[in-house]
Point group: C2
Chain length 670, copies 2
């Protein structure tokens, strides 16, 4: 039921058309507009609306239903759209400093429209741009201006070692690249990876520079508006000044100099830029999950099938099974979105320290902590999204398998989030290593568990916490995220101890460090890292929904979301909770499971309103079964009949009309 | 190491080229040719080779690397290929009766080449054909002949109620459809669904018949060579003889007659045809998993990354993490493939009973048992494949994200296996209902647990078995599938009891039957159904690998596969095993987990040889990183450079050369 919203500009938020979704909207326990304003704030809502409206009103961004774009045409269109985004100049450099959250907001808006567009824009302006900005010096500032005027199209090469393959924007369009190469000075040692700006193509003709072989890696599973390329350099000479020299330089006399004492310190300072890619990906993943969940829940609220009587069929959202399949992912959207923004702000803090030349111990600690968090956040966000999209696709039945409903594109576009900037499984080792290092510190030096963002401070309860047991005996006592939080703290401490002990056991039995770590990663390091980041997400969202500034009318629904996400995530670790003795007996598992189902049931009537908060306009969502008016069949049939040649006879019909002779047999040719 | 193979025609099986896979092939503990012969038999291997060779030698089936086929062109090509398959006449009707397993074998071969081809062929010949055969009478035999001469292109409409949408082959090509409609006789009641042959298009012009609106539903996420359609009938008159009248008929005088006493009995007789679709899908799913696992394991055996020393990098298959990610799915391929063939033979037994007019109680029981098994087998196979393909895609890193390596197509083509012929989650209720019915029988009537295929006979151990506990204390004692089998029996009995009790509890507290079942399905019915079918798969493969006819040289590797699949599947239920008291304490969970990892490690050196057994020829597998010669980079680069316009400048390059004016600003227009 809509209540009047105090303050704020609600003309900013649309009124939804009347239709089949009315029943659910009327049953919501809160006002979606109030939640939208509370979650984002007026300035951010205005910013997003500006972007969405610009896209919807510009013919270049018109959706083409049923179009079968060739790879080449899609890349051209994506390039033109990217250029147009620069012309719109939604976000000035000053804006980025004043309101840093507008950066992920812009990327989310573009990505909700089309992942390929967000990727092209992000790689060019943010990744390349920030690489030049953070690794370069004054002499490289002219590149920054050119990046934003798109005078030369520029990309950032993330990984020189990977056969210089997969470079975003390099396939057709890049004129320059940031290339990370091992810097070797004659008569001196090699100094590890350093970044260089290298010209790839002649800006006038777009043909490759001499010595540079550059090409397109071809069609991908998704994000095909983005032209990924490969490059090989055959003794290409670049001027000395091409070295982006903030971290290290070579004098005209040929001497290597660096403000950092050693490689480790220099590497530590660069951890910030490694983390920024991963933090961005968290945001990219979540935008995909938002869209998928919006589509699947609007569908579920309007698609009717069977019912208790012959008379009326009920929406499939009324079934506990459908609620269990989808509502945890809705809760995950809210929890992970909040976490993503908070992590981005932590990263901004780190980057400001870097920019101001902060070399304190805290800055180094912050870099390591964010590196550990980012290394587990990317896997958590990308996998949750991957599983969520699959569930949404299946929950929409056959309609989910129609290309026009967009779930396939979301799945394909999210997929590489599990792989680039570090394979998820491999990356988690960074996080488990970080935690093991802290434990080793405590064991050997008696150090406390402290980190600048306080994400590890709870470990001070180790090892005493391991005697705790789960003592909730009724579902009613299990409906707050505080319960899950306590369990998670136990779980991470338990896994930390187990991993540490197993690692030592392996080494004692003769395994090398390399072998020992590999043997422990599957059963111990991996779940440790995941449990740690899940705890952090749960913690931050729990604090967010319990803070005094939450309007009373929103507390119940936010509390339920927080509890559902926390308990659902936790329930995936139930075996470990039993194994280590935190759970024992039937009741513990039953209570946890029943609490999850109870929360799903409680959130069912809020689902549509919760989707109204996170869904972009219909034009951007671009899914007939996910439209805000809820006219499922009207919209679906409308879209089907708009496809080209839907009722036409096949152009090749003579091939199978019966005027053709009966087919011969080729059996003798076998 | 290759050993001499006794008997059999080993010229039937290829010699692989020398290359980077040699090391693993040499380390295998068995001969892949021996396993291939043992698994399939010479006749089947010859049959598959004939099909694969025909495809490879026929230009119509040539692969077109880098081609960007339009939807229309793909459908035309798929149609022409399907027609060619009929011309080849690989499988006569007599063959189908003599060697029924050649039916799924043919479908697997076609599907490995292209899922759209298998689907088009299957729907036309097997689904439509068998519907006409099993539901029709002598007067419909002429249709059968025409089906196999493809004089008219014909499809089978699976579901009239679903807005007559999603009908395979109807989008462009079908001339006739089997339409299930409610049969209502004037002056009498309605008699439920009956099948009719209805003409959709004029065979000479391919234009729709009067009163029929028929069209193409548009692009799907996958299987786009298959034209799915929709149809609406506006009072279309069809002759009385169009009724496929085996199950029920209407006399010329207008009286409904049926050999069956009532609707239930008639429905029971039709369960066989419901099950055949689902059993086919098990086979379709598994072919996709075979391909994905083959690609990912050959990749993992040749892709090198890092290592214990700086000197040499090691194949990623050497890492426990990679083994854990992939080898369970290899084991699943073997276990599910065996199960799929055995289930198909069970289905053949049922269909022969139906064809011979068997109306015995055993035939009815068999129909119900197969219905229950098929309703859980489809979910198990399609989900295992879905998760397996995703894991394979990620395990191949960025290369898995290149379209040319085929993992995207496999994922998209397998996806609808989770949805058609019944959404997986909904379908599982059929299985749990079946089991609950058996328990109710036992509780109320003292009946024993007996079924024709003996899949439920183990339930006789209920409830005594619930006192059993897991008593394996060392990994060495945990390496045989017998251990998992015992645990599964306990688990199914436990879940059966819990579901039954919860259902009764719900009803006692006032829930209707509808509500009670829905409330119990997520937490109880669903895991019960899955555990039951997993047990059945494990049981059948366990018996298969332990039978006396297994050559001694193959026993070890087959035993390991059986144990790995069984323990890995079981481990996903660890929380329930603890909850119900079968597991207690740390050791149980640790032993299970360590056993899985130990088996992965033991199977690592057999992996490539095991793939050699299941992989089709390179031409059919169609994945540069999965080629049998293992020349990973040569094949990858070769394929990349074969793509059209790989090194060419973009055709639209003037759009971004710097001769164009600097971009303007559109900021004022926002």
């Amino acid at each position: 039921m809509a209540s009047t919203v105090e303050g704020g500009d609600t003309a900013l938020l649309p009124e939804f058309p009347r239709g089949p979704l009315d029943a659910y909207r009327a049953r919501a326990s809160f006002s979606w507009k109030e939640l939208a304003l509370f979650t984002e704030g007026e300035g951010m809502l205005r910013f997003k609306k500006t972007i969405f409206s610009a896209l919807e009103n510009d013919p270049l961004f018109a959706r083409s239903p049923g179009a079968d774009l060739s790879l080449e045409k899609y890349r051209e269109l994506n390039f033109l759209r990217c250029k147009r985004i620069f012309e719109y100049d939604f976000l000035s450099v000053e804006d980025m400093f004043k309101s840093p959250l507008k950066v992920p907001a812009l990327i989310q808006c573009l990505g909700m429209y089309d992942s390929s567009l967000a990727a092209k824009y992000l790689l060019h302006s943010l990744v390349f741009g920030s690489a030049v900005y953070s690794s370069g010096s004054e002499r490289h500032l002219t590149y920054i201006q050119k990046i934003f005027r798109m005078e030369e199209f520029i990309i950032h090469s993330p990984d020189f070692e990977a056969a210089k393959f997969w470079v975003g924007n390099m396939g057709k369009t890049a004129t320059h690249a940031v290339v990370f190469a091992k810097l070797c000075v004659p008569g001196d040692q090699c100094h590890g990876l350093h970044p260089f700006i290298v010209q790839i193509r002649d800006p006038k003709t777009l043909l490759p520079m001499p010595g540079v072989m550059v090409g397109d890696i071809g069609k991908k599973l998704g994000q095909n508006g983005l032209d990924n390329g490969f490059a090989m350099f055959h003794k290409v000479r670049v001027p000395r000044q091409s070295l982006l020299n903030r971290m290290g330089d070579v004098t005209p006399e040929g001497t290597y100099v660096s403000p950092f004492k050693d490689v480790r310190q220099r590497f530590g300072a660069s951890l910030g830029s490694l983390s920024s890619g991963r933090v961005s990906i968290v945001s990219l993943a979540i935008l995909n999950l938002k869209l998928a969940v919006a589509i699947a829940l609007r569908f579920s609220a309007t698609r009717r099938q069977f019912g208790p009587t012959e008379e009326e069929e009920i929406p499939v959202l009324e079934y506990p099974m459908q609620q269990w399949r989808l509502l945890p992912y809705l809760a995950a959207v809210y929890a992970l979105d909040h976490f993503s923004k908070s992590l981005f702000l932590d990263l901004v803090e780190l980057q400001r320290g870097l920019a101001s030349g902060d070399r304190s111990a805290r800055q180094a600690e912050l870099g390591r902590e964010i590196h550990a968090l980012a290394s587990a956040s990317k896997p958590l966000a990308s996998w949750t999204t991957q599983q969520g999209i699959q569930e949404c696709r299946e929950a929409c039945g056959g309609h989910g398998y129609l290309a026009m409903n967009r779930l396939g594109v979301l799945r394909d576009d999210n997929d590489p989030n599990c792989t680039y900037e570090g394979d998820n499984n491999i990356l988690l080792q960074q996080t488990s290593n970080y935690l093991l290092g802290l434990l080793a510190h405590q064991v050997h030096d008696g150090a406390c568990f402290r980190s600048p963002l306080k994400s590890v401070d709870f470990l001070d309860a180790y090892p005493g916490i391991l005697d705790q047991k789960f003592e909730v005996s009724s579902v009613a006592d299990c409906l707050d995220s505080a319960v899950a939080l306590a369990a998670y703290k136990w779980l991470v401490c338990y896994l930390l101890r187990e991993t540490y002990q197993k690692l030592n056991q392996e080494k004692r039995s003769g395994s090398s460090d390399f072998e020992a770590r590999n043997k422990c990663q599957v059963s111990h390091g991996r779940p440790l890292a995941l449990a740690f980041v899940e705890l952090t997400v749960v913690q931050r969202f729990h604090e967010h929904v319990h803070q005094p500034s939450v309007p009373p009318s929103l507390r119940a629904v936010l509390g339920r979301l927080s509890a559902l996400y926390a308990l659902w995530s936790l329930s995936r670790h139930a075996a470990l909770l039993y194994r280590g003795g935190y759970f024992s007996g039937e009741q513990a598992g039953e209570v946890l499971e029943s609490a999850v189902l109870a929360l799903c049931s409680q959130l069912k009537d809020d689902a549509v309103a919760l989707v109204d908060v996170i869904a972009p306009p219909d034009f951007v969502l671009d899914s007939p079964i996910g439209r805000a008016d809820g006219e499922l069949y009207k919209n679906l049939w409308g879209a089907v009949l708009q496809e080209s040649k839907v009722l036409e006879r096949a152009s090749w019909w003579p091939e199978f009309s019966v005027n053709k002779p009966v087919i011969g047999s080729l059996k003798s040719k076998l």
